[in-house]
Structures are given as structure tokens and as C-alpha cells.
């Protein structure tokens, strides 16, 4: 079904007729509505309704409803529309730049989820890069993180402690396969809780689909469709409404959002083993609190070495730290000789970023 668009599309590059004044303060600063770039008179991932919102990615805490106009990547379009519906949305390819006010703006892959981007803002020779959420580990379902040179880098810090160091995703998928195959052999379903946008599709693309049928919760399946529609290859999946036979269910991998845990929806699977896929599963306490049989340490955020390498690769001498381990990262980066500060944003809670595992 074609999506209805506004008749005269809004354009970020033409709305601002007057050249914006040179800001007296930083190019991007914290306001109560969100991170604001005065020279472009636009906000990046704002948390209160604004006129012009530049969106790094479609997770709920970064792409909120209620803004008048949105700017995001082309890859993010379909997933973003699931969440926002028929809004005024302008899309750019990665690397394509537009001029907004007196700022040259472009998106660059952040490797976090499909369509996730770092925002590069250039004004009077000064370059800021806002990372949104990112990871440097490989992910078959989105463009890989691309370092972008900047004077000032704005980084997330969800897993900003050196206890968080991820193993290669291939190792984790091997663990998932092993667990799934053992359950299938024992005739019980394998219920894997994962965030329905991003994590679930990454798992789908990573597991060995020949082990058994894959059943997805409706919330996951909606995103699967958007991923497939955006050109990402995923293995075939079933919905419960497809009425898979009980024989199939006992061998199935079931992907469900964490909110499905403990709900009647799971009853149809009979006896099952359950697991949770998240970076938080690194800690035993978090694993046990989830009360699942297995915890798979798989995150769409950078681990500690990933954060450090991304910051170093930006070449920035100034770093602003957002959501996660803010004070720790600020102190660490300061000790490394960088000028580091905090941005007290309202991000977090959209995916892995939720501190409550």
C-alpha cells in the first residue's frame, strides 16, 4: 500500500531562508527539549515536541512522536514509519549532505540497527559528530559503523565500563544454535526474548535456520516485514496465526519481545526453554533476575573497547557523553587527555539502553 505523503513535501534545506547567525555558544547545546543546533535551528533526537527533528535511529527513546518534521536516513524510512506513521519525513542516503540553515548536515552509518546514523554537522569549518547509539561489531542487518573525523564527538555510554567486553557475534550465534539444537532434540521449543527492533532481526540473520522452524511474535514480525521491505535478507519466519503444527512448535526457535515473558501467549508452546539476548546478560545478577534458563551476551551497543576505539577514530579533542555511564566515561576520557563533558539527555530505555535489564 503506497504511503500518503504531504502534497508539498517539507524540505530541511529550504525552510530556513535567512542564514543562521553564528552561535555564541557551542554548535550543539543541551536544552529542555533536546540537543539543539542553533545554526540549523533543529534538534537531534529531541524528547519534547519540536518543529524540526533530526533522527539518528528509530528506537523509541531517540525517535519520539509529536514533532512537525523529521529528517532521517533512507534505510530508516520503513522502520521509522512503523513507529511514527504518516509523518512529514525527509530521508537522506548515507553520506549525502544537505545544507540546513548555515550547517552542512550528513548521515553516516552507526552500525546500531537498520538505518541508524551518526549525524555530522559542519559549520564554519567546525565539525560535530553525534553518534546516537552505535556499535562497532559486525551486524548483517545494517551498514557497518563508519568512523567520521570530528572536532567534537558526542558518544553514548550505555556499556561504558571495562567489564563490558563482547565476544565476536559469531561465538554468540554458535551458543544460540547449540542451545536451540539441544532443545529441538529434546522436543521442546526454544523461546528467545530479544528487543523486537534490531536485536531480533540480527539474531534471525545470525542463527542456523536449518535447525528448525522459526516462529516470531507479532511485534517482531512487523519489524521483520520492514527489514525485508528495506532489502535485508532474513530467513523465513512463521507467525502463530499461521498455525504451525505442534510437531513444528516443539522444534521451533521462538523470537518474542521481553514483554512476552510470563504471558499467556507462551502457553501454546508447551514445555520450553527460555533465554534472553542482551548485553546486560554479561552479569550474573542480571541473568538471574531475568529468571531465564540462558542469557546470551549480544548487544547492539558498543562495548568498552568499542567506545574507546570509536572515540579515538573520530580524532575529536572534545567529547560529550550521553546516556549510560556518563560520569565514568567523562572522568576516564578526561584522564586520557580529552576535553570531556556530560550531556544529561533523556535517552535510554528504548532498547538495550534501558538500565533495567
Amino acid at each position: 500500500m503506497p504511503i500518503r505523503r504531504p502534497r508539498a513535501p517539507f524540505s530541511f534545506s529550504t525552510w530556513l531562508r535567512r542564514p543562521a547567525v553564528t552561535p555564541r555558544t557551542d554548535l550543539v547545546r543541551l536544552t529542555e527539549r533536546g540537543l539543539y543546533c542553533e545554526a540549523a535551528d533543529s534538534y537531534i533526537d529531541p524528547w519534547r515536541p519540536v518543529d524540526r527533528a533530526i533522527i539518528t535511529h528509530a528506537h523509541a527513546d531517540h525517535a519520539r512522536r509529536g514533532h512537525a518534521h523529521y529528517l532521517a536516513t533512507r534505510d530508516a524510512e520503513q522502520v521509522l514509519r512503523i513507529r511514527l506513521g504518516d509523518v512529514s519525513l525527509q530521508c537522506l542516503a548515507y553520506g549525502e549532505s544537505v545544507t540546513v540553515g548555515s550547517v552542512r548536515l550528513s548521515f553516516h552509518p552507526a552500525g546500531h540497527v537498520l538505518g541508524s546514523a551518526q549525524v555530522r554537522l559542519e559549520h564554519a569549518g567546525e565539525v560535530w559528530v553525534l553518534s546516537g547509539d552505535y556499535k562497532v561489531a559486525p551486524d548483517a542487518t545494517c551498514a557497518p559503523f563508519e568512523p567520521v573525523a570530528a572536532h567534537t564527538f558526542v558518544t553514548e555510554s550505555t556499556f561504558g565500563l571495562p567489564i563490558y567486553r563482547w565476544r565476536p557475534p559469531g561465538d554468540i550465534f554458535a551458543q544460540v544454535n547449540e542451545w536451540w539444537a539441544a532443545n529441538a532434540a529434546a522436543g521442546r521449543a526454544s523461546v528467545l526474548y530479544a528487543y523486537s527492533f534490531g536485536k531480533a532481526q540480527r539474531i534471525l540473520a545470525g542463527v542456523e535456520a536449518s535447525i528448525g522452524p522459526i516462529v516470531c511474535h507479532g511485534a517482531v514480525e512487523a519489524l521483520n516485514d520492514a527489514y525485508r521491505g528495506s532489502g535485508v535478507t532474513l530467513p523465513p519466519t512463521l507467525r502463530v496465526s499461521d498455525r504451525p503444527g505442534s510437531e513444528d512448535l516443539r522444534r521451533a526457535l521462538v523470537l518474542a519481545p521481553p514483554s512476552a515473558q510470563g504471558t499467556p501467549w507462551l502457553r501454546r508452546f508447551g514445555e520450553f526453554s527460555d533465554a534472553f539476548a542482551s548485553g546486560w546478560m554479561q552479569l550474573r545478577g542480571a541473568r538471574r533476575r531475568r529468571s531465564v534458563d540462558r542469557g546470551f551476551v549480544l548487544s547492539d551497543h558498543a562495548d568498552w573497547p568499542g567506545l574507546q576505539s570509536a572515540i579515538a577514530a573520530s580524532g575529536a579533542s572534545r567529547v560529550f557523553v550521553t546516556h549510560g555511564q556518563v560520569p565514568v566515561m567523562v572522568r576516564w576520557l578526561t584522564e586520557q587527555g580529552l576535553e570531556a563533558r556530560a550531556f544529561e539527555t533523556e535517552f535510554g530505555g528504548g532498547d538495550d539502553g534501558a538500565e533495567v535489564p
Partner: protein
């Protein structure tokens, strides 16, 4: 080591007893006798001695991980467990060690005791280098003396018994006391019972279930024997081969700690086993548990300690007489023999736990209501025909029940929160509660347990959204959340700001229906404080029943 580390991970990851049992069985079926012996030893709760001071280990870890001290501390705050923090922080996990658990314990762990300074450091670092992440965790737990995993000794015993194909109680008895973790000793667990094995070994304690139905449904009241549930140390007093033995329910030998029971045992006939409660005993009456606790805390038993906190044994049951195991006899017959025996011995340190006489359930309930004044925890209900079973087995048609008094409870306001430790390290789970004194909220209790995981997450969200100030790991929150707090006892305490100290506080439920203003006052608490000591109890002979 790899297999043991993965067993540890499995036991640690699941809360299901069946899955734990399966994991243990698998291990005991696959590992060598020597490895199984050490696994039984550690999993059964024998902690290896701490071989390296925590402070030294921290310093070593900080150096090896090459991070600043403060960052280590932040990590520790997030993880809540030193061994695990270190396991995550050490660089480049090795591929894991193929050497066996026994090898690791005997050739790597135990020799650490004789090493000092840099030799000790080097040995620990060398071990870290070889092990993978899960192996490092287990190793760190072992060297810090903090090895603990969520299995009971009973479960380990069961798994061994199932693999060995022998009675769980026999394995339990063989594991009691000074069991040495050698391959031979492990193999010996599999053998058929020998005649001489019995001396000095207690029977498995029979445990009662909390009552799960209205008492009326238990049938006629007169079929049940009711006794007070004493607040002391459950123990068995054994006299065999002319020697006394005292065992606590935790399978801990306590013979040395209670010399007066040795004297008492000398007056008992040979071949006797009594089940009962060890109580502090003053002026012919049971004294509060606190007095017994003081005595347990003492390293040395001076004459003064013995004088100030003497103990008595209040017998519940007779398990063996004249060398005959009488556990299968009906309770009424064991009871009669017990009373006869105690009367004959007539020792001031030996009593029979009196039967609480009641003609119907109503009158029993009325007596139970006075339990707190008597300094007891409630009532035990035992079917007159019941055998003395093993462990926590539910006997169809006549087991044992405990019918505890309801704890004290008040509504209080959440005022401070702190991150949990161990398995709750990333959540705010340790709460401080306050009650009103005029217009002021006075903290009076800290409580950790009682909420479901979902409630914990909800409260954690509330805390993060309502933080007023942070002091290190502690946050003060706006006083909005009311919870019902239960506790077992209350006393005046000049050391606490509120002037009261409560015993075993826990959260009974969230009271989202209440406003902070509805919370209780300090006056309410003070009114709960009774006389300084529970009313004295004079042991009396139980009334024989028809």
C-alpha cells in the same frame, strides 16, 4: 576445570531445582572420582579457606587489568561481586584449562597457602592467564573463600545418591562430619551400608512445612500433637558407644561448643538419639535467642561465658533407644518413651518440649496467639501416628506442619535506596524505611527481600525517577512509596536514631493504595515493644494423651 566451571555456570544460571539436579547428575556421571570428590566438597558448602586477602587480590587485579583504582571501584559497584568483577576485567581470557578440578585444587589452589608476597601474586596471575572467563570466576571464588552457588547440600547429596544408586540418607550420613574429599572417600559413598557406620552420625533432620491450609482441614484436633516452636538451634543429641555427639541441623558438629551437654549425655543410657532445640537457659527458663547468639559468637568458652549463657536441650523427639532406630514408630509411642527417659535421667539441662493441650482448633489458635509473649515462633503440629521422616518430605495423611505466628507489621515510607549486591547488583534493591515522628520521617528498618522481580523493577524505576540526592551508592528518594514491613521482633535500641531495632525486617507488600501520610508512626512501633524479655516459661511435663 572446564567441566566444573560449566557446572558452576549452569547451577548459577537456573532457579529450577530439577535443572540443577540434572546438571549435578550429569557432572557426577562424567567426571573422575577425584573431581567428583572436590565438587561434592565445595558444592556441599565446605568453603575453602581464603588464601589471599581481598585487598591484595584487588590490587593485583587493578594492576593486571591496567585500569585506575576508581574505575575498578565503579565496576565493582555495577557487578556487586568481587570475583566476578575481576573475571570480567582481566584482559585476554585464555582458552580454558584442560587440567582436572582435582589437579587445580591440589596442585594450584592448596599450595597457595604456603606462598607469600610476590610468589603468591605470580601464582594467582599465572592461573588467571590460563583460564577462560568462567574458569576465572570459579578460581576467584575459590581463592577468596567465597565459593557459593545456589545448591543445597541436600540437593548435592540427592544427585550423588541417584548416580550411586544408594539411599540419599546414607550418602548424607557419610558426608557428615569430617569428610575428606578424596577419590576413595567419594567411591566409598557408593558402598552398601556398613554396621559400624552409625556411631556418631545423626539422622537426617525431619523438617516441617509451613501450614498451607486452614487447620480445620487437618482433621480432628486430638489426632495432632501441638508443641511450641522454639527459637534456638535445632540439634540432635547422640550417645553411642559411651560417647556424646551434638549435631546442629546445618550438619555442623557442636559437641565441643556445648560441654554441659556432654555432662548431660554421660547420664543418658547408651544407644540414644534425641531431636530437640538448644536454648539459652537462665533461671529455669528459656532465654531469648540473642543470649544464645552471644555464646555462639565466642571463640573461647570461658567459665564466665558458661555461667552467663548456660544452655539446655529441650527434646522434641526420640529417634533411637537402646541402639534401635525407632523413627518408624508412631509419634505417640516415641513420645511416651521420650517422656519416660527424660524423667528417669532427671537432669536440669534436659527437658521435654511440652505438649500444648487443646480440646479443639479454636482453643489451640487462642494459645498460638500468645506465642509471642512466650518468646516462641509459633506452634508445631505433628500427627500422633507420624513417623520421623527424612528431610522435607510431605507425608500423605499425617506429616508435620509449622504454624507460625504472623510477624509484626507496619506501613512505612521508602526514604533511601542502595544498589543490591551479587545477583541484584544493577538494581536498587536495598531499601530503608521510615515512620512518622510528628512531621518528621525517622528511618527504622532496612529490608531487602519480599518483592517479586517485577515489583523490584517497578520500585527501581520509581527510585531512579524520584532521586533527591546521591551519597555514594545510596540515593535518597522523595518519600512517596509506602510498603508494608513485617518483622519478627522489636526492642528498644539507643544505637538507632529511631530508638528501636527490629529483627528480620522484610517487605510484606507494596501499598500503592496508601499515601505517605497514611504510614504508621513511631508511637505505633513503641507500643509493639512488650516487656524487656519474653515472659518466662516453666517447662512442664506434657500431658499424656489417650
Amino acid at each position: 576445570m572446564r567441566r566444573f566451571a560449566s557446572l558452576y555456570r549452569e547451577l548459577d544460571a537456573t532457579t529450577s531445582t530439577l535443572r540443577k539436579l540434572a546438571a549435578l547428575r550429569e557432572y557426577f556421571s562424567a567426571a573422575s572420582d577425584a573431581d567428583c570428590a572436590w565438587a561434592v566438597f565445595f558444592l556441599g558448602g565446605e568453603k575453602p579457606r581464603q588464601v589471599i586477602p581481598t585487598r591484595v587480590l584487588r590490587t593485583l587485579a587493578v594492576r593486571t587489568a591496567d585500569i585506575p583504582e576508581w574505575l575498578f571501584e565503579e565496576c565493582y559497584q555495577a557487578v556487586g561481586d568481587l570475583a566476578e568483577t575481576i573475571a570480567h576485567l582481566l584482559p585476554d581470557p585464555g582458552s580454558g584449562s584442560d587440567a582436572s578440578l582435582a589437579d587445580w585444587v591440589e596442585h594450584r589452589l592448596l599450595p597457595l597457602r604456603s606462598l607469600r608476597d610476590s610468589a603468591l601474586d605470580d601464582a594467582v596471575i599465572a592461573a588467571w592467564r590460563e583460564l577462560d572467563a568462567s574458569g576465572r570466576l570459579v578460581w576467584n571464588k575459590l581463592i577468596t573463600g567465597g565459593f557459593r552457588v545456589g545448591v543445597s547440600r541436600l540437593l548435592v547429596t540427592r544427585a550423588v545418591a541417584e548416580v550411586a544408586g544408594v539411599e540419599p540418607t546414607l550418602v548424607a550420613e557419610r558426608l557428615l562430619g569430617d569428610w575428606q574429599p578424596t577419590a576413595q572417600a567419594y567411591r566409598a559413598l557408593f558402598a552398601a551400608e556398613r554396621g559400624d557406620e552409625r556411631a556418631g552420625r545423626p539422622y537426617p533432620f525431619f523438617l516441617a512445612h509451613p501450614i498451607d491450609r486452614p487447620v480445620e482441614e487437618l482433621g480432628p484436633c486430638e489426632q495432632w500433637q501441638a508443641e511450641w516452636k522454639w527459637d534456638g538451634i535445632r540439634a540432635q543429641l547422640i550417645v553411642r558407644g559411651g560417647r556424646p555427639y551434638v549435631w546442629s541441623r546445618g550438619d555442623e558438629p557442636m559437641t565441643e561448643r556445648f560441654p554441659e551437654l556432654g555432662a548431660l549425655a554421660a547420664r543418658l543410657p547408651d544407644g540414644v538419639v534425641l531431636d530437640g532445640e538448644l536454648l539459652a537457659w537462665r533461671d529455669g527458663a528459656a532465654a531469648p535467642f540473642a543470649l544464645l547468639q552471644q555464646r555462639i559468637g565466642r571463640k573461647k568458652l570461658t567459665p564466665r561465658v558458661l555461667r552467663e549463657a548456660p544452655v539446655a536441650f529441650v527434646a522434641y523427639d526420640l529417634l533411637e533407644i537402646e541402639g534401635r532406630d525407632c523413627r518408624a514408630d508412631p509419634l505417640h509411642r516415641r513420645r511416651a518413651a521420650l517422656e519416660e527417659l527424660v524423667e528417669r535421667v532427671a537432669d536440669p539441662a534436659l527437658h521435654v518440649s511440652p505438649v500444648v493441650v487443646a480440646t479443639d482448633w479454636n482453643s489451640l489458635a487462642a494459645q498460638r496467639a500468645q506465642a509471642r509473649d512466650r518468646g516462641v515462633e509459633g506452634l508445631m503440629l505433628k500427627h500422633q501416628d507420624s513417623a520421623y521422616g527424612a528431610g522435607r518430605v510431605k507425608l500423605e495423611g499425617g506429616g508435620w506442619w509449622k504454624w507460625k505466628i504472623d510477624p509484626y507489621s507496619v506501613d512505612a515510607v521508602l526514604v533511601y535506596a542502595q544498589r543490591g549486591h551479587g545477583r541484584r547488583a544493577s538494581l536498587y534493591t536495598d531499601y530503608t524505611f521510615a515512620v512518622w515522628r510528628g512531621e518528621e520521617l525517622v528511618p527504622f528498618a532496612k529490608a531487602y527481600s519480599g518483592l517479586t522481580d517485577a515489583e523490584i523493577r517497578e520500585v527501581d524505576n520509581f527510585i531512579r525517577a524520584h532521586t533527591r540526592e546521591k551519597f555514594g551508592p545510596v540515593r535518597s528518594v522523595t518519600p512517596e512509596l509506602v510498603m508494608e514491613i513485617g518483622f519478627e521482633g522489636i526492642a528498644r535500641s539507643p544505637r538507632h536514631k529511631s530508638g528501636v531495632a527490629v529483627r528480620f525486617p522484610r517487605i510484606l507488600r507494596l501499598r500503592s493504595d496508601k499515601k505517605p501520610r497514611d504510614a504508621d508512626t513511631l508511637d505505633t512501633l513503641l507500643r509493639l515493644i512488650g516487656p524487656a524479655l519474653p515472659a518466662p516459661f516453666i517447662p512442664e511435663r506434657g500431658e499424656p494423651r489417650e
